[in-house]
């Protein structure tokens, strides 16, 4: 494999990781707010905070990893994304900051405030929306290059059905993934009430999930015909499998069978859709300006990045497993018997 393909695979995998753990986190925040407003707080709060407390910090690192990595492997993206994303990027950063810090203030501080919960819950849905702009812009048409640099066409972006369908997809996915995971977590915790509520949420979000995916495809066809054609011509089976996994998972949740495995099917559903989207988009990171074959970092740097990456994983994977075993997969901790 060439360096550019190793690079993009690594980055895409970290982005996928961020989407999953981020979605669980963002959705949990929103559900917490919703439960607070509808006075069902006592039902799900325990489950959610028990999961969130030890992992929220790690979630954020997945994101940092992605954007540091992309600048490292493909420095040209810093120029194109950097020049065009000032506003959406800053909005996402401000939301992320509010969310992260007020989560800590609310959780570790002495007082609890509805306003903080509100900030925390609402930003959780807005952050994915702001970040999804990155994916939209990378499809081309919204940025143009002139003598001064690259410019983002705001009007075009705000009027685009494709842009809006991606935003909607990101919000729905957050609620869908999050409720799917927390259902399993609540079942493990033997918290029947929370389990019922979360399972219902999961089932409610399944239909919009299916519809919005079709919208994204249809609008992509309008927006970037060649990408659409590669996706449906060459990689149709990848997306087909994604739908199959979606249905399997849905049935398992509906009949309440083997939920841990059902959640793995949810992950597979997203993995196939996400990698399918990624691979059909190649070789462009930003259409048509950044092509991975032409903009990969110089060879000596790419080589050392890959080495560092492997060494880093040798350190990270055991630590992550330790973290999961101590908290997420520790039956006593999940049930609340351990602090």
């Amino acid at each position: 494999m060439d360096y550019q393909h190793i690079g993009i695979l690594v980055l895409w995998t970290f982005l996928f990781g961020y989407i999953i753990v981020g979605a669980i986190d963002f959705g949990a925040g929103f559900f917490m707010l919703y439960a607070h407003l509808t006075k069902k707080e006592h039902v799900i709060n325990n489950v959610i905070s028990r999961y969130l407390n030890p992992v929220w910090e790690v979630t954020n690192v997945f994101l940092v990893f992605f954007f540091v990595g992309i600048v490292g492997f493909f420095p040209d993206t810093a120029y194109y994304f950097g020049s065009t994303l000032l506003i959406p990027g800053s909005v996402a950063l401000i939301l992320l900051t509010i969310r992260g810090s007020f989560y800590a203030f609310e959780t570790y501080g002495k007082d609890s405030k509805t306003a903080w919960k509100f900030l925390y819950g609402v930003t959780g849905l807005l952050i994915p929306a702001a970040f999804s702009t990155v994916l939209t812009i990378s499809e081309g048409k919204f940025i143009t290059k002139n003598a001064h640099g690259v410019i983002l066409d705001w009007v075009e972006l705000l009027m685009s059905p494709y842009a809006w369908s991606v935003v909607l997809l990101s919000i729905v996915s957050v609620l869908f993934i999050s409720s799917a995971f927390l259902t399993v977590y609540a079942q493990k915790a033997k918290d029947t009430e929370a389990y019922r509520l979360l399972r219902n949420w999961y089932l409610i979000w399944a239909l919009p999930m299916l519809i919005i995916c079709q919208f994204v495809f249809l609008s992509l066809r309008q927006h970037n015909r060649s990408h659409f054609e590669v996706a449906t011509g060459q990689y149709w089976w990848v997306f087909g499998l994604s739908i199959v996994f979606f249905i399997i998972a849905l049935l398992m949740y509906y009949f309440e069978k083997y939920l841990s495995i059902a959640f793995i099917f949810v992950l597979l559903q997203f993995a196939f859709a996400f990698y399918g989207y990624g691979i059909s988009k190649l070789p462009y990171i930003i259409y048509p300006y950044v092509n991975i074959d032409k903009s990969v970092v110089n060879e000596s740097m790419a080589f050392s990045l890959v080495i560092v990456f492997i060494l880093g994983l040798l350190l990270l994977i055991p630590s992550l497993i330790l973290l999961l075993r101590l908290f997420v997969f520790d039956a006593d901790y999940v049930k609340g018997k351990k602090k």
Partner: protein, 446 residues
Amino acid sequence: MDSVIISRILTAMTLGFHIIFATIGVGMPLMFMVAEGLGIRKKDIKYITMARRWSKGFTITVAVGVVTGTIIGLQLSLLWPTFMQLGGQVIALPLFMETFAFFFEAIFLSIYLYTWDRFKNPWMHWLLNIPIVIGSTLSALFITSVNSFMNTPAGFELKNGHLVNIDPIQAMFNPSFLVRSFHVIATGGMTIAFVLASIAAVKLMRNKFKEDKSYHQLALKLTMIIGLIFSILTIVAGDVSAKFLHHEQPEKLAAMEWHFDTSDNANLILFGVLDEKTQEIKGALELPGLLSFLADSSTSTVVKGLNDIKADERPPLIVHYFFDLMVIFGMLSFAISIIYLIALKFKPLWIEKSWLLYLVALTGPMSMLAIEFGWFLAEMGRQPWLLRGFLKVVDGATHADGVSLTLVAFGILYIILGFSCSYVLIRLFKDRSATKDMMQYEGGQS
């Protein structure tokens, strides 16, 4: 204002805010590692309580540190896209390694905070400190490497506007890397020790919970000793830095010291006011030959003056004030820690005197300000360069619309964050006596 100025202000604002939390992040893990270790060894619940309370407060500052760190990480590309495109070829490695170190620290910090009562053997929990300290130190080293690279670029060649023949290792261990990392780590340890000492001193002066007196006195003793050790290291680091600047970045040293004409036996200038046109200095304390001596251990050393540097490559002369303030505040804190420890040993009656506690209470804010001034000095001292010798600041900034809007938005954000963070931290310990915590921890509850 043009976007270059606004981008500079915004970057300065973000970093100025972030380094408060970053400094805490570098020094704090070491502090609770020492406290917990002492507690287990001496079987003294006071030290354990110290470690638990410090790490509890630390969580709040970590949260703000993480989010502001994320901001600066992305803002680099958003505000300086040309620089990141050019420099991305070379700084990718330390940046990447920084995130690994940070990841590692984040995982073990999460485990640390939630497993106080999980292990039968307390040393097991203490061991978790090791990856945390390693992670926090390494991430400071790697990020300092990126900044050092901007000051003293190395490990590449410039051909037709592209950086080629890149040697990642040489770029990472660029000439200023070691000197600056040493300075960052030493001052980080010093500052956080003094900040904790200040808190203990204020608590002793307030004396709200009488039963806490011995706890706070113990904290004061520990933090003052650690503070003294790190301030000695800081002084060594400062001296090495001066020698380094003399050899590698003479224009920064000259601007710091308002040294205009290249000469031997150069004077060290403290304080004073400068008339930039006539290059006349008023009201300064001039120490003959000391600058030459600091630069290379001999008064006959020739120190390069600003007049021998191209006019459009001279750093702003305001950096002299930052230099003075940094040194004065650092030295005062160092002196206060000596006075306190002498008092502790020879004049035990003094340590309860309010004049001494007042002095101690000043050390934390003074060292934190010294950190800020030090970074102003370091960053403004490399003007007009973004990548020294290769890319000027004016050529690196973004052309995007809306930079002033983001400046205002982030400004408001930092004000809100600063206030709410202090509010939460104060509330956390205000009505809670350490003795009460101690009794709880002894009973095995958290």
